[in-house]
């Protein structure tokens, strides 16, 4: 169920209507069901992975923070995992026919999925081991128990991520490396479908356990609240990656309707739809026409397509974040800001404080900082490179993402070196403005190239397109498919909105505009969004991550 689909247009008001009628506990339960329905609309089998992640981290959190679980808590978590395995992967629901023309009944031969039976067996084994070892683990001294809890969580989550996202990639890379050495190896591949949003929710659940381990957060006793924290539908598949210390208390405390928050939520949804439908979808065909072309393309084509891709990714992803935050605000729950006019950044450090903020801060707190503190010499440059390389790999199981991460790591290192050594410039106000503008332009140009690394389909294309850009091959001939009119009209509006946010430093600056001006802005966004409804819809780019 995409945010820009008719289904979601019906789903969200239905959820809001029921939500408004329920008390706090009922709201949370309903949101949990709605979140599972939302995610299950892609593929209900992968709900089992969410349930697994939920149960493991809930269990580990309590083991770390409280020393163990009560019998009731263990029963609840065990039942949840077993039922999830049974309902989402073991039973083939298409074998159950109710009210069909050929009569109701069950096709017993096809009722059980063979792989699902294994998953059910695995879930039962896990439940048995966890319950059997519970007493033993809870008797261990504090440090050992906490360490076991932490590693169990990290191990399970990284295994899920590794199997479903990276296994085939590393096997494929190993095969290629062996073939390069003259060994014709055929290794096992899983050929599994990548579950939507797996990188987002595994990071979110892992940071819960890590925060409990670091004593920054008490473990939650309420299983259903924790399950909602993991599966909360507005941000489940593409973030923002929420910190448990922020989202869990919001979920656990009653919400009050506030008109200003509701209005802001509506604006964010409108802004997100405008970005996604009018701009991102409006330029997608232009970008694809160059990056999917097998013929020769010129430098102008590569430059223009890459520039449009910058806008496509930004509008696609920040559009998703806007809709997620907006939908959540309608429910009375604030989510973190994920983008703050990123193309106005003057340097890489500032860029990562403006682009995908929830991921960059996650990487900083849970990867970069531990790497620095693990190093006895506290060296930050290697830690920066490792963080960005892994951050690149997080984006996708492909070497071009690693290269993209490495490129940004290098930029951050160069910037850190320069910042530490360069003298503080002393200029008047006008000079400072020019320097800021020049910094924005120069960094945008450098960052623009990084999007080529991000979008390219292969290393060969990276080399080919880079060579084309360097040599200026193809002259000024533009064969790229032109962007849709909604994008042509929408891009200046987007720049205006971002400039307003950048100049005022306030994402809510639009609310201080006169009423007629705000009305004109909303009307313009609606009009351009409606113009974009004729564009070919594309799936959100970050779903694949």
């Amino acid at each position: 169920m995409l945010f820009n689909s008719v289904q979601f247009l019906l789903f969200l008001p239905a959820v809001l209507a029921i939500y408004a009628l329920l008390p706090h506990r009922g709201q949370n339960r309903m949101l949990l069901v709605a979140s599972y329905v939302f995610y299950g609309s892609w593929d209900e089998r992968f709900l089992f992975l969410i349930a697994l992640s939920t149960v493991v981290d809930y269990w580990c959190g309590l083991t770390i923070g409280r020393g163990g679980l009560t019998g009731r808590q263990r029963l609840g978590a065990s039942t949840w995992l077993t039922l999830s395995a049974l309902c989402f992967v073991t039973i083939n629901w298409s074998a159950v026919r109710i009210g069909g023309a050929d009569g109701s009944g069950v096709d017993w031969a096809a009722l059980l999925e063979p792989l699902g039976v294994w998953a059910l067996g695995g879930a039962l084994a896990l439940v048995a081991v966890a319950n059997a070892s519970h007493r033993l683990v809870s008797r261990l001294d504090d440090d050992r128990r906490r360490t076991i809890g932490l590693w169990a969580s990290v191990l399970v989550n990284l295994t899920i991520l590794g199997v479903f996202k990276y296994f085939d990639f590393f096997v494929g890379s190993a095969e290629q490396a062996l073939q390069g050495m003259g060994v014709d190896a055929r290794l096992i591949r899983l050929d599994v479908v990548l579950p939507v949003g797996i990188s987002f929710y595994t990071f979110q659940t892992m940071c819960y356990t890590i925060d409990v381990y670091r004593r920054k957060l008490p473990p939650t006793d309420r299983f259903l609240d924790f399950a909602l924290y993991v599966a909360y539908f507005p941000q489940l598949v593409a973030g923002p990656i929420e910190r448990p210390g922020e989202l869990l208390p919001r979920l656990q405390s009653p919400r009050r309707f506030e008109l200003a928050r509701f209005q802001h939520g509506c604006f964010l949804i409108l802004q997100g739809l405008f970005k996604k439908v009018a701009i991102a979808d409006g330029v997608a065909a232009s970008v694809d026409s160059i990056y999917s072309s097998t013929g020769t393309v010129g430098a102008v084509d590569v430059a223009a397509a890459t520039l449009l891709f910058c806008l496509q990714v930004y509008c696609d992803f920040s559009g998703y974040s806007d809709i997620a935050r907006g939908a959540s605000k309608l429910l009375g729950i604030d989510l973190v800001t994920n983008f703050r006019a990123p193309f106005f950044a003057r340097n890489p450090a500032e860029y990562w404080q403006r682009w995908h903020i929830s991921l960059s801060t996650w990487l900083r707190d849970y990867l970069f900082m531990p790497l620095v503190f693990l190093d006895p010499r506290r060296r930050i440059y290697p830690a920066l490179m490792i963080t960005m390389l892994l951050g690149g790999l997080w984006h996708g199981a492909s070497w071009n993402f690693v290269l993209w991460g490495g490129f940004h790591g290098l930029l951050l290192v160069i910037h850190a070196v320069y910042r530490d050594r360069a003298p503080r410039p002393d200029a008047d106000r006008t000079g400072r403005r020019w320097r800021v503008a020049a910094g924005i332009a120069v960094f945008f140009a450098i960052n623009w190239y990084s999007f080529l690394l991000f979008r390219a389909g292969s290393f060969a294309q990276i080399f080919d397109f880079t060579a084309t850009l360097v040599t200026g091959a193809g002259g000024t001939h533009l064969s790229m498919k032109l962007p849709a009119l909604s994008a042509v009209v929408g891009i200046p509006v987007l720049l205006g909105l971002d400039l307003l946010e950048y100049a005022t430093g306030d994402a809510l600056a639009y609310r201080r505009l006169p009423a007629w001006c705000r009305g004109a802005l909303y009307a313009l966004l609606i009009f351009v969004f409606v113009m974009g409804t004729g564009n070919e819809p594309t799936e959100f780019i970050y779903f694949q991550f």
């Binding site: 072309s293 013929g295 790229m480 009119l485 313009l524 009009f527 974009g532 409804t533 004729g534």
Partner: protein
């Protein structure tokens, strides 16, 4: 909220006035065309179909069988060939390129904008006794193949509707069965539009048989005057068409569960039998537009080989993934047209139909020099 509604009304009105469609006979600019898209099919028909053929838009007259009465019925040059070509603009462009390569060829062109195979096949059935063509060329467009589930181009291309109609074919008990449209000429369309009962019967037929029919897109009214409503209708209509097209074709090719494949194969088989019964040679040209890789070749290549029917597939001559092969409007470039034309001429030569002395040197060179020819000659 009130300001938003007021501003929306102002934008709606202002865009409507600024980019209003020009009077009949004046070609609209790209922005005028863009902001007029989404007008209901009935609204567009009312604008394009005049009281007479002369007062109607050229698009209204295109594609109906018999709309090109001056097409030659025999070869213009002694010893030359008459090629009767059935298809769409893409195949006509190849015919023009062939004629430029060999001026002794004469072409009889029958087709319509984005015409699907059903239209081309029906046109040949109607046309076969009206000319002395030696060679019959059938152009099949990968994009237009989805039109086999339609009866007219005014629904699948509701943004720029061509109202011509054609039969809807289906397979019943192994036989190709046609459902004829209630309207079969521009004149009949004009009369139907002036007769509420006849129009309703035609609309009901489309609603029942044409997979691309959508009531919201088809029916007109006062709301046609609002730019915002037109844009919304366009978005809705595009969504509907995309959903229908997705049932026929995806990134892997034509879907095996779609009826389009079996019907296309049955039409090709029937076409081959008819042409052979008429004592003519047939050539099929499979046009792969952008986004279709070699999918049409995958779908129809086996049956064409089984039938021993000569064919050319564009996917190796001008690959669908090569941007250089295409013009911005989706047609092949002149250079790609020439390359395709050379392949078709090479087949005609191989069939022994052409006086080889008339063939331009480049054609022979191209043929002999092609190691991986996509042309399969029966």
């Amino acid at each position: 909220m009130l300001w938003t509604l007021v501003c929306l009304a102002v934008i709606d009105f202002a865009v409507g006035r600024l980019f209003a469609s020009p009077p009949a006979g004046v070609r609209p600019g790209p922005l005028q065309r863009r902001f007029d898209q989404g007008r209901s099919v009935e609204g567009q028909l009312a604008r394009m179909v005049g009281a007479t053929d002369r007062s109607s838009a050229p698009m209204a007259a295109a594609g109906w069988y018999g709309s090109r009465p001056d097409e030659p019925t025999r070869a213009a040059h002694d010893g030359g060939l008459l090629v009767a070509a059935y298809g769409m603009s893409t195949s006509f462009r190849v015919c023009y390129a062939m004629q430029a390569l060999d001026p002794t060829l004469t072409f009889r062109l029958t087709g319509g904008p984005n015409a699907p195979l059903s239209h081309s096949y029906d046109s040949y059935q109607k046309d076969r006794d009206r000319h002395d063509a030696d060679v019959v060329m059938l152009g099949i467009s990968a994009w237009a193949l989805a039109g086999l589930e339609s009866m007219t181009q005014m629904l699948i291309h509701f943004d720029a509707p061509a109202p011509y109609t054609y039969p809807l074919y289906r397979i019943s008990d192994g036989e190709l069965v046609a459902t004829e449209p209630l309207v079969q000429s521009l004149d009949e369309l004009r009369r139907a539009m002036g007769d509420a009962d006849r129009w309703e019967a035609f609309r009901r037929q489309l609603a029942e048989h044409d997979a691309y029919y959508d009531d919201l897109v088809f029916r007109g009214g006062r709301l046609d005057e609002s730019t915002l409503v037109r844009l919304l209708r366009r978005g809705w209509g595009q969504r509907h068409i995309r959903r229908q097209l997705a049932r026929v074709h995806d990134t892997d090719g034509y879907r095996p569960d779609s009826t389009v494949g079996p019907v296309a194969r049955a039409i090709v088989r029937s076409f081959a039998e008819t042409v052979r019964a008429d004592g003519r040679s047939a050539i099929v040209v499979l046009f792969h537009e952008q986004g279709f890789a070699d999918h049409l070749h995958t779908l129809l290549g086996p049956i064409l080989r089984d039938l021993d029917l000569a064919f050319v597939s564009t996917h190796e001559i001008a690959p669908a993934s090569d941007l250089d092969s295409f013009l911005p409007d989706g047609h092949f470039t002149a250079d790609a047209d020439r390359r395709i034309a050379r392949r078709v001429l090479a087949i005609i030569e191989a069939e022994g139909l052409m006086n080889t002395e008339t063939l331009p040197l480049s054609t022979s060179q191209d043929t002999s020099g092609s190691g991986a020819s996509s042309a399969s000659s029966g």
